[in-house]
Chain length 218, copies 2
């Protein structure tokens, strides 16, 4: 099987959460599947100095920075075709809600990157599984509406998810939520987890559930 | 036990190789040890666009970029004290040979960052284990001289290591080399490995060997 991994930059505060992204790649490889990595070819919302937490006066490109995690093997998400893959996985990090959509800035009135939106809609329409870690389920709720997902237990985010027409299920650190009908697998990861080994465990559970969903007749 | 991880930026071509860095953290955590992350507070040698492989007209700081891998929890290496840790681990990536030392630019005539040099010498003098992944053993050979290490099988790099007064042992993808006398553990990682699961396996072997060395009477 072959999964597409959709990144949003490189670094938890303005891009993809690096541990979640890398553990997703590891989980796919350990389960004897292949991966291709994608990211939108757009400017980051901003650049955060990860030492101080403050915004920097710089411009960076999401695809170019995500290429760091991908060791250069990455494609613009506009080239993603759902039919070429057995599923699509989105690791978390603020990049999901600053670059792929604007939830971190605009809240419930968020805008979604059109190419990312198309990728998610196509994957869902093709009855292929979608995995979403950490805060990424918010984006899935915004795009697909009536699905069951988890971001852990954070009441405000869970409330947003319900406002978007989706159902939220509370989960503990390394638990996952599986919406069998819509083939959505989600996990709280660093919304709750405090150890990197918990991220490895979560990503592995997500990938295993996606493999099962991909094998099931649609 | 508690290990210090020394990073050199964030991204294989101008900083720490991200998979090796993250797998090092995972291996430490999985083996029920703790880690603290360090990097030198210096400018990167340059910034490489990881999509095109070309240099960019930008300046970035090694500590600030390494903070992305560390999720902000990182200290300047000048604060590292060997006595506070059970060992020091250096993941690979071109950052080791562009930022921590200048092997990638100056070859055998490389210069070494003075603070990094002091950290390695102090750790060795305190009879604590040092782990070095991928290209990082070249830096250890430059600083410590007569130690046994591996960077895999690359003849040119192995020859440099011998010119520096160290011994090179050829190894295969997930093999490690252990210099018991000097407590140096090295592994070729992406000098040979092609799969991220091999990096996870290598990092786990390195950490387990370091734990054994740290437990042994010095």
């Amino acid at each position: 099987m072959k999964f597409a991994v959709l990144l949003s930059g490189c670094g938890v505060y303005d891009g993809s959460e690096i541990h979640e992204a890398v553990m997703t790649l590891l989980a796919i490889d350990k389960n004897n599947c292949e991966y291709e990595i994608f990211a939108p070819n757009i400017s980051q919302y901003h650049v955060i100095n990860h030492l101080t937490g403050e915004a920097m006066q710089e411009k960076r490109n999401v695809l170019v920075e995500a290429a760091r995690i991908a060791r250069g093997k990455i494609k613009p998400v506009v080239e993603y075709k759902a039919l070429d893959f057995d599923g699509l996985i989105l690791p978390g990090g603020f990049g999901v809600v600053k670059n792929l959509c604007t939830y971190a800035i605009d809240g419930i009135n968020m805008k979604v990157d059109k190419v990312v939106e198309k990728a998610v809609i196509e994957t869902h329409a093709a009855h292929k599984p979608i995995g979403a870690l950490c805060i990424a389920p918010v984006l899935i709720a915004k795009i697909l509406g009536d699905v069951e997902i988890t971001i852990g237990t954070d009441p405000e985010t869970a409330s947003t998810i319900r406002s978007l027409g989706a159902r939220h299920r509370n989960t503990s650190a390394t638990e996952i939520a599986v919406d069998y009908k819509n083939k959505i697998v989600s996990a709280p990861c660093y919304m709750i987890c405090t150890r990197i080994s918990e991220i490895a465990e979560s990503a592995d559970k997500v990938v295993k559930a996606m493999i099962e969903l991909a094998e099931a007749k649609s």
